[in-house]
């Protein structure tokens, strides 16, 4: 049995929990700037037609007394970690899909916690007790159905599809609810007279393949109750990155460098917390015309100091001749290695790894930040309100 757990209005609920004055009021979490979008809307705000990803100005038009709360990603991430840890108490097979959503494979856990519905109830109670937040849980033997099920009784609900209920559920399941069916696919479906997943079974595989390509084959499998995808426990991370949209599009290199430094520090901190070294540095730039590029550099010696990540990121940006204003930028690292594994030294370098001194500084800063907060100590150049922290 696969459970899909989705937190209810995650960011907004956290804010309402932490500030009782917000309870029962339409609030959204997001940025205050003119370019911000809503990241989460409370259920009260949703009644005004406000939803995630809606531009903030539009949300304010729909609900002028809307309360906008500045998002605090660090707080949400900490909350998410607490919740994922709770899930891990029930099964080792937990696959977080985003900050507020995870799949759990609870097959075999019935003997300890009872039938799936019971497991879902215990999880909900524990989440509520330990974090004060509510979630919605869906359960099914098929992964895609578990996701759909979690939406059925949302918010604060449970919906389990038992094996023998699957054919009936599929027959009447609206196709638009299936993950992957977007607006354009929906138009095609309408033309073909497909409204429910059951309708898909009445089309020939050839037509499905022709109209929807690979997704058509997947749809057909779904319709026949086949979904081979399993819940993957969190494998080792392949990359760490940080990016942000700028307040204003810019081509000011000094400003860009400051942003890169801030991102490099975040990425570096994350890297060092996981005790990894990275041998690949990537930058991502999105321009005012929404085109985007990524550039990467493979390093001969793996690094983990923020200064080294920053230096490589700046080198990559400078190498790319920027002709357009930048809208978004990001820094990432990958090709991880364990600092314990032997590293081939460079025959022309001195015997120590060059970055070690900065790594020591960074590790000290990390310790201070962990104890007193991320903004308590930072590079002097970052001491202005434009930081993306």
């Amino acid at each position: 049995m696969i459970l899909h757990i989705d937190m209810d209005a995650f960011f907004a609920s956290i804010e309402q929990r932490d500030d009782p004055r917000l309870i029962g009021k339409p609030i959204v979490v997001g940025g205050h700037s003119k370019r911000s979008v809503v990241s989460t809307a409370s259920y009260e705000a949703r009644r005004f037609g406000i939803h995630s990803a809606m531009p903030m100005f539009m949300a304010l038009e729909k609900c002028p007394h809307l309360i906008v709360v500045q998002s605090d990603k660090t707080k949400y991430a900490a909350e998410s970690n607490r919740i994922m840890a709770i899930f891990n108490d029930f099964t080792p097979v937990v696959e977080p899909v985003s900050i507020d959503e995870a799949y759990l494979d609870v097959t075999g856990c019935e003997r300890i916690f009872g039938p799936p519905h019971n497991i879902a109830m215990i999880i909900k109670e524990r989440v509520k007790k330990e974090t004060g937040l509510t979630c919605s849980i869906g359960g099914a033997h098929l992964r895609f159905l578990a996701k759909i099920a979690s939406d059925v009784n949302k918010p604060d609900g449970i919906f389990i599809i038992e094996q023998d209920q699957i054919p009936e559920f599929i027959e009447t399941l609206e196709v638009r609810k299936i993950p992957g069916v977007g607006k354009r696919a929906m138009e095609q479906m309408e033309k073909l007279g497909i409204h429910t997943l059951g309708d898909v079974n009445r089309l020939s595989p050839a037509i499905l393949k022709h109209k929807f390509g690979k997704f058509g084959t997947q749809l057909r499998n779904y319709a026949r109750g086949i979904d081979p995808s399993t819940v993957g426990a969190d494998g080792p991370r392949k990359s760490i990155s940080s990016e942000s949209t700028l307040e204003n599009d810019t081509s000011d290199m000094e400003f860009i460098k400051k942003q890169l430094l801030a991102h490099a520090q975040r990425v570096g901190r994350d890297l060092r917390r996981q005790e990894l070294l990275a041998a690949n540095v990537t930058i991502k730039l999105k321009f005012s015309d929404f085109t985007q590029i990524t550039r990467q550099n493979k390093l001969t010696a793996p690094i983990c100091s923020s200064s080294a990540i920053y230096r490589e990121a700046v080198r990559l940006v400078e190498k790319f001749a920027i002709t357009k204003k930048i809208r978004l930028l990001g820094v990432g690292v990958s090709s991880f290695s364990d600092p314990g594994t032997p590293v081939q030294l460079d025959i022309f370098e001195s015997t120590e790894r060059k970055e070690e001194k900065w790594e020591t500084v960074d590790k000290a800063v990390d310790k201070i930040s962990r104890r007193f907060g991320n903004n308590i100590i930072k590079k002097a150049t970052l001491n202005n309100p434009d930081k993306p922290e």
């Binding site: 594994t341 032997p342 081939q344 030294l345 790894r353």
Partner: protein
């Protein structure tokens, strides 16, 4: 253009240029060979814009002319041709007829005007060097390769130097990938005039040069502006030099502060081959534990297991432990010509410098790994 040439020798020449013509460049025509026929001679050229081959051969010529034709297809046709003499004939409009009577190929050739120009080789002060020595020098240097995304000039190319010391003058080639470094010396006849800039020969060209050189006789070498030129009696290879800095390799191969340890070359080679059985991509380091009169090598691969070998050596220095990639030892020991090798060592995180006991020509430096 119409001529007939000996199938075997033509096939050998074409085999030799496949490397040059097979390389991808910005110009499609670099996959061609240029065939120029004049008098009683056929000139064959290949050019990948970096490495140029040119050879002159005798042939039965009926009429002069020039064609530019795909090197791979021409080679395959000629290699499989049954007679000892192959006729080539440009009929019209760049159509080339190969063969006669009951075997006939018609192949489209390209416009030879587009074939890249060959650098002029005139007034070059050549020096003479034994072909076998140069071949060994080139092989030892190309042993250290580079990855496809490599950008450092000193890794992409090998350094050529004239070395003058109390033993006289010699030619030296240094090759590195910043993990290990090989340095090979060879003597020559004549006065070698070197430019002020570093001579850095691309390793791609060197691997072609390795095929070009025979194990006997002598060849002439010279530098002309930005080309390294090697000349046999009727064949020439020109390699365009790279421009860039070269790190201070002399500091790396300086063994003054190091402790020498003599070992039997074959014995150490066998040890390295056995120990590397347990190495994998993730675990390729072997621990070398130098103690008084003993060397213990161990490898631990958590995925497979571990192994350990003890060797008696004449070592009286301070005991230390250092890690190395055994692959590099195998390569170096295979290249050394001496039955006894000298390992120069100096604590952890330092290179190990390998030389032959009675052969100072080759120096192999292998950098340690940090553990």
């Amino acid at each position: 253009m119409k001529f007939s040439a000996d199938r075997k020798s033509l096939s050998e020449v074409l085999a030799q240029v496949q490397g040059i013509c097979g390389r991808k460049t910005n110009l499609a025509i670099t996959s061609d060979v240029l065939i120029k026929v004049a008098g009683s001679e056929v000139i064959i050229m290949a050019n990948d814009l970096e490495t140029v081959f040119q050879g002159q051969y005798e042939a039965e010529v009926e009429s002069d002319g020039i064609i530019s034709i795909n090197a791979k297809k021409l080679y395959e046709i000629i290699r499989e041709y049954p007679d000892s003499l192959v006729p080539l004939n440009e009929i019209e409009n760049r159509w080339v007829e190969i063969g006669k009577d009951n075997i006939q190929y018609h192949i489209v050739s390209s416009d030879y005007d587009n074939f890249p120009e060959t650098p002029l080789i005139e007034d070059i002060p050549f020096v003479e060097i034994e072909s076998a020595a140069l071949k060994k020098m080139v092989e030892v240097s190309s042993m250290i390769g580079f990855s496809s995304d490599e950008k450092r000039i000193y890794v992409l190319g090998a350094l050529l130097e004239k070395v003058v010391d109390d033993k006289g003058e010699c030619l030296r080639m240094v090759s590195t990938d910043s993990r290990r470094l090989n340095c090979f010396d060879a003597t020559y006849e004549g006065e070698f005039i070197v430019p002020d800039e570093n001579i850095i020969i691309p390793k791609k060209g060197l691997s072609e040069l390795g095929k070009f050189l025979d194990r006997e006789g002598t060849v002439k070498i010279g530098i002309k502006e930005d080309h390294f030129i090697v000349q046999k009696r009727n064949e020439t290879m020109m390699i365009k030099l790279l421009e860039g800095d070269y790190p201070d390799y002399r500091r790396v191969i300086n063994t003054e502060q190091m402790t020498p340890v003599e070992m039997d070359r074959t014995m150490l080679l066998m040890v390295m081959k056995r120990i590397s059985i347990l190495s994998s991509d993730d675990y390729k380091s072997v621990m070398f534990n130098f103690k008084e009169n003993q060397l213990v090598v161990t490898i631990t691969n958590p995925e497979i297991g571990e192994s350990k070998e003890e060797i008696n050596i004449g070592y009286g220095g301070e005991a230390f432990e250092s890690a190395f990639n055994p692959r590099y030892f195998i390569d170096a020991l295979n290249a050394v010509d001496s039955s006894t090798v000298v390992l120069n060592v100096k604590g952890a995180k330092n290179p190990c410098i390998i030389k032959g006991l009675d052969d100072e020509k080759l120096v192999c430096a292998i950098m340690a790994m940090s553990v």
